[in-house]
């Protein structure tokens, strides 16, 4: 049995009806006509597909196709397995930014002693404790994307500030590694496992019972893929949205009034892949003076931000981003709220490239800016 035949079996792709709903739904296929998920599947079924097919790297793994597929085919998973195969044969996609981000994560598979927490000044954190805040790659993004005002560290400070206001003093560690999300989706399972193993050792030795995430990719990777590869984690991955909504409902966090009309962009890892649609919206609605207007394509139909895993960023990505930002502006909103550090970077990049007016703001920055002093335990 060929490798492709095996992955057809694993993902039950033979149920494909050849209906084309996937290609019709796909944001990439709309711009880049050489790319068609339906054709990749059909070619695979007829034994005509090869892992060397360069178009497999154009998929954003955004799951827009799979939520609509009448045969329940998980195309992003199919592509991920295909990339595993391709990677082993020496084929890769085109890394964006000359592979800088891939190199940064590769270095973290070794025994480096990072200095990634210098931004914590003035915030309360601990060496050991029940709650661990998994920051993710923000310290690196902040430097790499400074020219487009990534604001990645501001976002991390906002999250720790929110946790402090909730009475939590989280563990934040210099030894955290990239969660391995990008390696996993780009076919480098070995790198993923090395990074994940290091994170698991670190968190287990910190004594944490739960790990809080603000990054959708980190959350999804810990929640779904770490148990898949490593079994029981010994701690619980939780999204900060859950904790925050609880505190606001209890009335222990108060938000100041500030007028704004915003629209919300569902990150695909948080929405379609983790099923979290309502929590960010109820948080936005809990901010006094803030009005939420929805874009036509939202929730299950929310379009991807145009690039995944720092791969294959192209004119196609830019076309998707431009269309999305226009869609956001057309709602009458002056601000597009994101809940993912990468979506924020991609949209801020497009904003500066096209000279657009709309503001792109991180959900946690919005909250942190509105938390009234005196909120939370003394």
């Amino acid at each position: 049995m060929t490798a492709i035949a095996q992955l057809i079996d694993a993902t039950k792709t033979y149920y494909c009806l050849d209906c084309g709903v996937c290609t019709g739904s796909c944001p990439v296929a709309r711009v880049f006509s050489d790319f068609s998920p339906r054709q990749i599947i059909e070619r695979s079924l007829y034994g005509l597909e090869e892992p060397s097919d360069g178009t497999i790297w154009s998929c954003l793994t955004c799951a827009q196709c799979s939520v609509r597929c009448p045969a329940n085919i998980d195309f992003p998973e199919f592509v991920r397995l295909m990339r595993d195969e391709a990677h082993q044969m020496g084929f890769e996609g085109v890394p964006a930014h000359n592979g800088m981000l891939q190199t940064i994560t590769s270095i973290q598979t070794g025994n480096v002693r990072q200095n990634r927490t210098s931004w914590l000044e003035g915030l309360k954190t601990a060496e050991k404790g029940e709650t661990f805040y998994f920051v993710g790659c923000r310290p690196y993004f902040d430097v790499v994307f400074r020219d487009i005002n990534a604001g990645s560290i501001k976002g991390a400070r906002s999250v720790v500030g929110i946790l402090n206001a909730m009475g939590e003093i989280p563990v934040v560690s210099n030894n955290e590694r990239c969660c391995g999300h990008d390696a996993l989706w780009n076919g480098d399972e070995e790198k993923f496992k090395m990074l994940a193993g290091k994170n698991l050792d670190l968190i287990r030795s910190s004594g944490a019972k739960r790990v809080v995430f603000s990054c959708p990719e980190g959350y999804l990777t810990f929640k779904k893929y770490y148990p898949k590869y490593f079994g029981d984690l010994g701690f619980e991955p939780v999204h900060i949205l859950e904790l925050l909504n609880e505190k606001i409902a209890q009335g222990s966090i108060h938000l100041a009034e500030s007028r704004a009309i915003v629209t919300y962009h569902d990150p695909c890892r948080l929405g379609r892949l983790a099923g979290i649609y309502d929590e960010p919206r109820s948080l936005i609605k809990a901010m006094p003076g803030v009005e939420l207007t929805e874009m036509p394509r939202s929730r299950e139909n929310g379009i991807c931000c145009g690039t995944t895993g720092w791969m294959n960023c192209s004119s196609c990505s830019k076309a998707i981003q431009l269309e999305r930002l226009k869609e956001a502006a057309d709602t009458g909103a002056d601000t597009l709220v994101t809940a993912c550090p990468k979506c924020q970077i991609h949209f801020r990049c497009a904003k500066s490239a096209f000279g657009l007016e709309i503001e792109i703001v991180d959900l946690y920055d919005m909250i942190a800016d509105r938390i009234k002093s005196g909120t939370g335990p003394a």
Binding site: Q108, G110, V112, R113, N115, R116, P139, Y140
Partner: protein, 55 residues
Amino acid sequence: MFAMTRELAAILGIDPSRLRLEWISSAEGTRFAQVATEFTERVKAIGPSPIRKAA
């Protein structure tokens, strides 16, 4: 780009002085030799790189 790389190296726990940028014209052979020697000595003095794969 160079300043950014140094900054990233520091976060990664790699001594930023392992990176050096010097513009030397093809007419400055002596200067090239001097910089290369100096830098080699500097890196030797820092010791093995933390990202070298453990044997």
